[in-house]
């Protein structure tokens, strides 16, 4: 092929691709993407189910002895937590009675509306920690809906089509969640790390943070509902400038083995724009 013709082909292709990127970033290609993604998500669901069957079997074979030990450890932990649960249930009853007396209406986990979805794939760029789920607008899922499992917060819906959605995981470096330490009640922000860890920043220096303390969403900024479990503190230290404390947080969610998640579909962020602040993103 003549050199000029090759350069022309490249130039035309680059123009088309740049136009695609521009229109895609503006959101103008939404209907096209929605239409194309329906059959693709369908195929992805089938392949994902087949893959999970095979990997599940291989995992079982590889980890049999470790699972036996882990089972023993979990049974011991369960006994301890059952005792704690009994105490907490009693406190929960007291709270409900007092809240009723004060006519205080706050939505708790049992009051929320959930949609259960299968995880059918992971983001292909490699630089973004995100998953695809097989629930979309038809199931009531909307953009910015929080996503959880029984072990805690997983992330937030960033892209949604008729039959599927993309969820940005908590471990993605661009993910930010306003949180609170459960015991010391200190506020901070949890962000993801490429290594899969979570880092809680902007903890006041005078806060008494202890290892093992639970971290929950604070509800500040109305990005997420309050009181969703985020993880446990592993270690704490001063940040580089010494103005705040930073804590390494371990989520109880295994982000590499997500199979089923729940989307909270009735969370409505409060509109703060009337106070001169931008509405929650």
């Amino acid at each position: 092929m003549v050199r000029g013709s090759r350069v022309f082909s490249l130039s035309m292709t680059l123009v088309i691709v740049a136009l695609l990127v521009y229109l895609g970033a503006q959101g103008s290609l939404g209907p096209v993407q929605n239409a194309l993604s329906v059959p693709v998500y369908g195929v992805q669901s089938v392949v994902s189910r087949m893959t999970r069957g095979v990997t599940g079997l291989l995992d079982d074979i590889r980890t049999f002895r470790r699972l036996e030990r882990r089972n023993r450890d979990l049974e011991e932990a369960l006994a301890v937590y059952q005792a704690e649960l009994a105490v907490l249930r009693e406190k929960g009853h007291d709270y409900d009675r007092l809240a009723a007396l004060l006519d205080y209406n706050r939505q708790g986990p049992a009051d929320r509306e959930y949609v259960t979805c299968d995880v059918i794939g992971r983001d292909t760029t490699g630089f973004v920690n995100a998953i695809q789920i097989d629930c979309g607008r038809r199931a009531g899922v909307e953009r910015m809906d929080p996503v959880v499992t029984e072990y805690g917060l997983v992330g937030r819906v960033t892209k949604v089509s008729a039959t599927g959605a993309e969820v940005l995981l908590l471990t993605d470096p661009s993910s930010r969640v306003s949180v609170r330490l459960q015991d010391s009640r200190a506020d901070g922000v949890v962000s993801g790390q490429l290594t899969g860890d979570l880092l809680m920043s902007f903890i006041p220096v005078d806060a008494q943070v202890r290892e093992g303390e639970y971290v929950v969403t604070s509800g500040l900024g109305q990005n997420f509902p309050a009181d969703l479990l985020v993880g446990q503190v592993m270690s704490v230290a001063l940040d580089q400038r010494g103005m705040y404390q930073e804590a390494r947080v371990r989520s109880l969610v295994n982000f590499n083995r997500l199979e089923i998640v729940q989307v909270i579909i009735d969370f409505e962020p409060v509109d703060l724009s009337v106070f001169g602040q931008p509405a929650a993103p």
Partner: protein, 168 residues
């Protein structure tokens, strides 16, 4: 025919990249089947065919990603064109050139994609961190897979591209 057969192959490869490849990860990196297919076709076929495969493959990947349509295609187009411009058409039995293209091409492709994601505000990953945690392991996995993929695409190329035979 060579172009049309690429559409279902690349769509299936994008689905495999999103479902099966994450199970075979090394660190934060996974092999990129769409990238391997596009690079193979760039070394086997005409440059226009390779560019078309790059656009279709990139778009298929972006459908299953947070990135806007065209993000992956940009990197694939540039690397595919460069591979074709430097090496031209390579024999189906050649093992070294595909390996070199994939090792260098993975780094270039990742840097282009990461830069675009940062410009679009979709990634907060630093360049150095991305190289260490994502690109390096992905390069190793791509280098392992390119040889069988290139052989397979060589067979596909032989089937779909007509050959001229001399009479007399």
């Amino acid at each position: 025919m060579g172009n049309y057969i690429g559409i279902p192959i690349l769509l299936l490869a994008a689905v495999i990249d999103a479902t099966i490849m994450p199970e075979l990860r090394l660190g934060n990196g996974t092999a990129d089947l769409v990238f391997l297919l596009v690079m193979s076709w760039a070394l086997l076929a005409d440059v226009r065919d390779a560019l078309l495969w790059a656009v279709v493959g990139g778009a298929a990947q972006d459908l299953l990603s947070v990135a806007p349509l065209g993000t992956s295609a940009l990197g694939l187009v540039i690397v595919a064109y460069a591979a074709d411009a430097i090496f031209g058409n390579v024999a189906r039995g050649n093992l070294l050139v595909p390996l070199v293209v994939v090792v260098v091409g993975t780094a270039v492709y990742h840097m282009i994609t990461l830069t675009l994601l940062q410009v679009l505000g979709l990634s907060a990953v630093g360049l150095g961190q991305g190289l260490v945690y994502v690109t390096l392991p992905a390069t190793i996995l791509n280098a392992i897979l390119i040889l069988p993929v290139y052989r397979l695409m060589g067979a596909v190329h032989r089937l779909v591209v007509p050959h001229r035979t001399r009479i007399g």
